[in-house]
């Protein structure tokens, strides 16, 4: 810091802070940083010392981003060189084995990898040299704000760099020089170890370090349970000790335990699942009797009229055209069956999701309990929902609807909760000030004000149900999805495509009508 009194009028040295930051080599970095600030640094500018030192330079200067860039670039080149070594040896072995075609192939690869190694090394160093001063200047800019950041030159940082390199480089390079053992070879190795047979330490090392993560946990195979039905209709539990000699890994052990749990629930609480299946079937039958059981002329006219009154003539024309497509290509019955599934799933979603959403919107406990569950439900891939549905409810339409409900419910809950939360505090306060009871507040203020959000939720539910209903065809839910799944299996692209377009049209019809109806209302 220059003091006013002593150097009055003197311009402070603009390079001083650069020098203070860079330490050794301060003149060079001072000039370079000045040119960066003046925007006169030539585009070709490279730092020769950094280019030569690469990640060592970066470690000395304490720029860890540059360290990783330089280190990874050099490692990629080194791995290519290791591959040269690997295939050179393999070629020599092939000559001994007399496998000419392998010799040719490996020698070709050797040349290619050698070229790659050289090109990558040169390109990597050039890039590094070009980046070095620019990254170093950014480090300077941050250091100006936070003086605890690394500055100057410090050989102590080389220790950290060496540790990182020692951890990464040898294993990576070793892996590149070896043909890794395949899974079967490793299973054999594990068996040998379990049986007490001798194995080479190299084989053990290769199996456990350079390919799959080693199996650390070995568990006794769980016993087998069965639940035979007695003469009086009750069930008894029969346990059979496992006859397997070998222990199993964690995955096998837990999978078998889960299967046993499901078996137990099905044996003793089957009536619950049967009951659920029954009621879903009742609901679906009622809906199907409307959509499938009505002559197509009636249903089609009904659809167009609904579209016209709810969403206007343009949407009605679109709905009409889509219906003609479905009818012409022979999808009418299947499409109606799909629509029935969607309607059934949507009804269940709304009936269950609305109160749940209100609870989440009003109570902290509700939010704490339901939000993580919803997060999980939305992260799990839709296919996974089919598993519990099949496990407890077997195959067919009811489990298909159940999987759909689980998949499509989250937006209903979330958007209902959002709508409830968005009701202004002041509006609620006003209602309370005029003597509203909690129930009146809910029915006359909160729900009406949340309605747009709730309707958006219903629209989401319909769209998501439709996509899941197609997937649920895999477990026998039928409908348009079945045609797609079947066509996929038979590689009949044309048939699948036509059905796919049909599904898209159904989705667009519902979406257009619901959205337009919402917009016209507000």
């Amino acid at each position: 810091m220059t003091q006013e009194g002593e150097t009055a009028g003197a311009v402070p040295d603009p390079l001083a802070p650069f020098r203070e930051f860079a330490g050794p080599g301060g003149d060079y970095y001072g000039r370079t940083f000045l040119r960066i600030q003046q925007a006169t640094l030539p585009a070709r500018h490279v730092n020769a010392a950094a280019m030569a030192g690469s990640f060592v330079w970066a470690a000395l200067r304490g720029n860890w981003l540059a360290f990783w860039i330089g280190f990874v670039a050099d490692m990629i080149a080194a791995v290519n060189l290791a591959l040269v070594y690997k295939y050179d040896r393999a070629a020599a072995q092939a000559v001994i084995d007399g496998k000419d075609f392998l010799v040719q192939r490996y020698e070709g690869w050797t040349d290619a990898y050698l070229l790659a190694a050289v090109v990558l090394f040169v390109a990597g160093r050039l890039l590094f040299g070009w980046l070095a001063d620019r990254l170093y200047y950014r480090q300077y800019a941050r250091w100006r704000i936070d003086r605890s950041l690394p500055r100057g030159l410090n050989a102590g940082r080389l220790v950290t760099a060496a540790l990182v390199a020692a951890l990464i480089a040898p294993l990576t390079l070793y892996r590149a020089t070896q043909f890794p053992p395949d899974e079967r070879a490793c299973i054999k190795l594990t068996r040998k170890i379990q049986d007490g047979a001798p194995v080479s330490s190299k084989a053990r090392f290769d199996c456990w370090t350079i390919s799959e993560f080693p199996t650390l946990v070995w568990l006794e195979r769980p016993p087998q349970y069965s639940y035979p039905r007695n003469a009086d209709g009750t069930r008894s539990i029969v346990v059979r000790e496992s006859t397997a000699k070998r222990p199993v890994n964690l995955n096998t052990w837990l999978s078998e335990r889960i299967d046993q749990g499901i078996g137990y629930l099905k044996a003793f609480y089957g009536w619950v699942f049967d009951g659920i299946t029954h009621w879903i079937r009742v609901l679906l039958n009622a809906i199907e009797s409307v959509f499938v059981g009505t002559p197509w002329i009636v249903t089609a006219v009904m659809f167009v009229v609904i579209a016209k009154t709810a969403a206007g003539p343009r949407v009605a024309v679109f709905v009409g055209a889509s219906l003609v497509y479905l009818a012409l290509f022979g999808f009418w019955q299947t499409a109606m069956s799909t629509v029935s599934l969607v309607v059934a799933a949507t009804i269940i979603c709304v009936v269950a999701g609305l109160p749940l959403g209100i609870w989440v919107g009003k109570s902290r406990t509700g939010t704490a309990v339901v939000t993580p569950i919803l997060d999980i439900m939305q992260t799990i891939p839709s296919f996974v929902y089919l598993l519990p549905a099949v496990a407890f409810f077997s195959i067919g339409k009811p489990p298909g609807i159940l999987a759909t409900v689980i998949f499509a419910m989250p937006p209903m809950v979330r958007l209902t909760a959002l709508g409830i939360r968005q009701v202004p505090e002041s509006t609620k306060e006003a209602a309370l000030a005029f003597g509203a009871s909690p129930k009146q507040l809910m029915m006359k203020v909160e729900l009406p004000l949340a309605l747009p959000s709730i309707m958006a939720g219903v629209n989401q539910v319909v769209m998501m149900s439709l996509s899941m209903v197609v997937i649920a065809a895999i477990i026998g839910a039928g409908g348009m999805g079945f045609i797609v799944v079947d066509a996929l299996g038979q590689t009949e692209v044309g048939r699948g495509l036509l059905a796919g377009i049909g599904i898209a049209l159904i989705a667009m019809m519902i979406d257009r009508v619901v959205q337009k109806a919402n917009r016209m209302k507000s």
Binding site: P424, S426, E429, A430, A431, G435, K444, P448, L449
Partner: protein
């Protein structure tokens, strides 16, 4: 005569989980707002406030934002429960009411108007106005009849079937006022009702409300952050600062005798022409006599009553060299206002 409609007795409100502890500490050690926040993570909203509101008067509570005035008014219909203290309405303890009684009180006897109107956007003006009646399960016919009557009171004829969003801010606040009046309550709570409106509309609504108030004689608590408004509207004014009531009094009393520097600072810019009266600035005839000798022609001086305001005194003094004689109803000379005293009085130095 007991015409106290609302009695607020030593009300404290402290927000925070440790409110009771904080209150005990304040009473013991006299902590201020910042110390309470630091030691108990509690915010003092209302600090030992007591006042009475008499039947038919407009009681203004004036204070800057954060002074606790909105919190205080919400105690009257128990939208906020006091940490300590009592609110009596016609002698009945509001805090002791059962939920159903409280709802009946809110729906039938207290109307409230909010700064941001807080109308229900999905209901027509008429259904908004009849909301309190609807909550008490009145039938549709009664509701519509009552609403239409109130719509006339606030001059919103023809807007009954409109939605609130189709109305301007001023009209929306008329709806808010109509909603508060619909159940014909004896008490009105007005929480900065005109603050969000632009000045011209505000002025108009103030005048209209004053006119309405004169005919309806509803006991009103009127919250405002604007001293001009408080002085225009209020029969009496309470000035709040940091949750405490600093001063309660008539507009004139507050302007001429501010209780402390804070209030004095507030009233500095207020025009005193309509607020200060002859009896405040006149000097006794004896004193005038000592200084100027006995006035020979006092009989011919311009004369004014002791209740004449500065505005009318100025009218008398313009183009007149003699002082003004202040005479009581009986014509007795009670004081003399010289030009100097008048000018000082306007300035606020009297």
């Amino acid at each position: 005569m007991n015409d106290k409609v609302i009695e607020v007795r030593e009300v404290w409100k402290i927000f925070g989980d440790r409110a009771a502890e904080a209150l005990a500490a304040i009473r013991r050690d006299g902590l201020d707002k910042a110390e309470v926040l630091e030691r108990f993570e509690a915010v003092v909203g209302v600090r030992n406030v007591s006042f009475d509101v008499h039947a038919g008067e407009i009681f203004c509570i004036m204070g800057l934002s954060g002074s606790g005035k909105s919190t205080l008014v919400r105690h009257v219909n128990r939208l906020i429960e006091p940490t300590q203290g009592q609110i009596l309405i016609n002698g009945e303890d509001v805090g002791a009411l059962a939920p159903e009684e409280l709802r009946a009180l809110r729906a039938g006897r207290i109307g409230m108007v909010f700064q941001n109107m807080a109308l229900l956007p999905h209901r027509t003006v008429r259904d908004n106005i009849a909301f309190a009646l609807e909550l008490r399960d009145a039938d549709t016919f009664t509701r519509h009849q009552t609403a239409d009557r109130v719509i006339e009171t606030v001059s919103l004829q023809g807007y009954g079937d409109r939605m609130p969003r189709e109305l301007s801010g001023g009209m929306q606040q008329r709806v808010g006022l109509a909603r508060a009046l619909a159940a014909d309550p004896e008490i009105l709570l007005m929480d900065e009702p005109f603050s969000a409106l632009d000045p011209l509309i505000r002025r108009g609504l103030q005048d209209e409300f004053l006119a309405l108030s004169r005919t309806m004689r509803k006991t009103t608590i009127f919250i405002t952050h604007d001293l001009d408004e408080a002085i225009r509207m209020g029969s009496r004014i309470a000035i709040m600062k940091d949750g405490e009531v600093v001063q309660i009094g008539t507009p004139e009393h507050i302007v001429t005798h501010p209780a402390d520097d804070y209030v004095a600072d507030f009233v500095k810019g207020i025009s005193r022409l309509k607020l200060v009266f002859a009896h405040t600035i006149m000097e006794p005839p004896e004193k005038y006599g000592q200084e100027h000798g006995d006035p020979p022609d006092a009989e011919h001086w311009p004369r004014a009553g002791p209740e004449a305001d500065l505005d009318s005194l100025v009218n008398l003094a313009v183009g007149e060299d003699r002082p003004i004689a202040v005479r009581s109803d009986g014509g007795r000379l009670v004081g003399i206002v010289t030009k100097d005293a008048l000018l000082r009085g306007i300035q606020g130095e009297a």
